[in-house]
């Protein structure tokens, strides 16, 4: 398993003149392998594959919002709360997810099913509110849609 990961990362690295460039794609793959977040051993694995240090890899990861340094739920629900969605009621959508899931933004449900996050603009400003569920964007989400969305996700 670890060997397969290292091979995959090294193959990726061949696309770049310098293998360090593959650190972000490698962290993404590592995050997927570790259930959506980057535990300490993930940095070791990426470091081993790319001849870097774990500290360096963690230093890169902490810079980017999409790398998670703490465990996340099986489903990641991210609500855009920048101005374009905000002018059209993103606050209510976020509040609806909070009440439906019983957690505040940044928290994970006790059963580990969901992590709720408020995020900066994700580029769907003409169709507010934009909600990313495991990186897939749903558009024109209103607070009234939220119970059904959560139910669907629970049923999947």
């Amino acid at each position: 398993m670890a060997r397969a990961f290292a091979d995959e990362v090294r193959e990726l690295a061949e696309q770049y003149p310098e293998s360090r460039s593959a650190v972000m794609p490698a962290l993404r793959i590592a995050q997927e392998r570790h259930g959506g977040w980057l535990p300490p051993e993930a940095f070791q694995e990426v470091a081993d594959a790319l001849d870097l240090t774990p500290g360096y890899c963690k230093g890169v990861a902490t810079f980017y919002d999409m790398f998670h340094l703490e465990p996340v739920g099986r489903r990641l629900v991210e609500v855009c709360t920048n101005i374009c969605c905000g002018l059209r009621g993103a606050q209510d959508v976020l509040a609806a997810f909070e009440s439906e899931l019983g957690v505040a933004p940044g928290e994970t449900t006790d059963d580990g099913a969901f992590t709720l996050r408020a995020v900066e603009c994700i580029g769907g400003c003409d169709r507010p509110t934009v909600v990313a569920i495991d990186d897939r964007h749903r558009f024109n989400v209103s607070a009234a849609d939220v119970p059904q969305i959560v139910q669907e996700l629970r049923d999947e």
């Binding site: 593959a22 999409m66 709360t81 920048n82 905000g86 606050q91 933004p105 900066e120 400003c125 003409d126």
Partner: protein
């Protein structure tokens, strides 16, 4: 002649498919210019007066001319396509990649030819999964059809950092580092990716190139508002409008037309309060300024910019202090933390705006806020600091009475009824600022 350039044919055909793109003349210009010297492309772009669509409006042909020759700098030359579209209010590059990915790839390959490069990197923001998949599928078709001509094209996904849409942050990130801005000079044209000559252009700029070559630069230069604002823009219209969306229109169209004729005006006929013309980093326009033609010079005359052509419409229900606070929070969150004016200044702006909104500020702190903005402007390593200071200062200046009312009334005059009330900023997550403990003087 139709004035749709970048998205031409996308309504009638599925241009995500190579066969359909070729049926409308796709890759013919690439084929043609590969038989011509690189200068032929550059001359045509100069004639067209194509300007950078990422926001800086720099002449695209001249940018290519800045790239030293292989004899001058015998290193690999690189093309980087900036697809890290992250400015709040912009979603044009998303549509280009989703609907005309081949036009972007063709433009990239033409750009590579024009600077004698064999290497293209497309840096696409991590949140754009669908556009990434569209581009990846298109690229696969291009590979199979053997159209790359020895050029390697790498799709590189970001991971959530606004600063990586700034060219030097993008290069750092692409080299596998934290995406912090670089000090310039040297400029990327001479020492960019891996310290080699590098051309960096926005998605829309690159995707315009094939059609310019098809039409000819002179004909393209007649579209829009010549001599400086030639061609079309994808105007991203959002906020309080009936029909938001991307509208590809010739530059020079009036803001009023965009808001009221194309986007259907404001829901329920509510009065317009203000409009941001180019994305959240641009100074705001008041309702009485919307007859301005949307071109570079006309907006400059009103002390603002077309930027990334993101039109954010704001109706009368929005509190301008809350808007300023939310915008400042965004830039504080996205500041890379490398240079002091931006790192500390954006945080100071947020603190002042929080105090004003809460009714805990004095009148002199309104001037202090403008002073902080002034101490950021033009003093940072990259434009991110300006991106915070410019818009917020414009809100204070243009809506001074509303800011003063917060001070006089000891709180928000909207009394909880502002459309932006309670907007949650995720600033506690991954912020690049140290957490300030309660009671510690900030």
């Amino acid at each position: 002649m139709s004035d749709v350039i970048v998205l031409a044919g996308a309504d009638e055909h599925d241009l995500t498919k190579l066969a359909e793109y070729r049926a409308v003349g796709g890759y013919e210009q690439l084929d043609r210019v590969r038989g011509l010297p690189p200068s032929a492309v550059i001359d045509e772009l100069n004639t067209a007066n194509l300007r950078g669509r990422g926001g800086a409006f720099f002449p695209a042909g001249r940018k290519m001319q800045f790239i030293p020759s292989k004899e001058q700098i015998p290193k690999p030359h690189y093309v980087c396509v900036n697809a890290d579209e992250s400015e709040p209010g912009t979603f044009k590059d998303r549509e280009i990649m989703n609907r005309v990915p081949h036009r972007l790839i063709e433009g990239s390959l033409i750009a590579a030819h024009s600077i004698e490069s064999q290497h293209v990197f497309i840096y696409i923001r991590g949140e754009y999964l669908d556009p990434f998949e569209a581009l990846r599928a298109a690229l696969e078709e291009v590979r199979e059809a053997d159209l790359l001509g020895g050029v390697t094209v790498v799709l590189h996904r970001g991971a959530g950092a606004y600063i990586c849409g700034e060219e030097s942050g993008l290069l750092e990130s692409l080299e596998g580092r934290r995406g912090q801005a670089r000090s310039r000079p040297p400029f990327p044209a001479v020492s960019g990716l891996y310290a080699s000559p590098t051309l960096i252009n926005n998605v829309e700029t690159i995707a315009t190139i094939p059609k310019i070559l098809e039409l000819g630069g002179a004909e393209y230069a007649e579209i829009g508002a010549p001599p400086d604002s030639t061609g079309t823009r994808l105007f991203c219209v959002s906020g309080n409008v009936v029909k938001g969306g991307n509208y590809e229109l010739p530059m020079g169209i009036s803001m009023r037309e965009v808001i009221y004729d194309l986007a259907g005006g404001i829901p329920d006929g509510r009065p317009l309060k203000a409009v941001i013309p180019g994305g959240s980093s641009m100074p705001i326009l008041t309702a009485d300024q919307i007859d301005v033609p949307l071109d570079h010079d006309s907006l400059r005359a009103l002390d603002t910019f077309l930027g990334a052509a993101a039109v954010i419409v704001i109706d009368e229900r929005a509190c301008m202090v809350q808007l300023g606070l939310r915008v400042a929070q965004f830039y504080m969150h996205e500041s890379c933390g490398k240079c002091t004016p931006c790192r500390e200044g954006t945080r100071w702006m947020v603190q002042l705006l929080e105090a004003i909104e809460a009714g805990n500020a004095t009148h002199s702190q309104l001037d202090l806020l403008l002073d902080v903005c002034d101490r950021i402007l033009g003093k940072c390593l990259c434009p991110l600091g300006d991106a915070a200071a410019l818009p917020v200062a414009s809100y204070v200046v243009k809506f001074r009475d509303e800011f003063r009312a917060h001070v006089d009334q000891g709180g928000c005059p909207f009394g909880g009824e502002s459309s932006l009330e309670g907007l949650f900023a995720p600033v506690d997550q991954h912020t690049h600022h140290p957490v300030v403990e309660e009671g510690v003087p900030a």
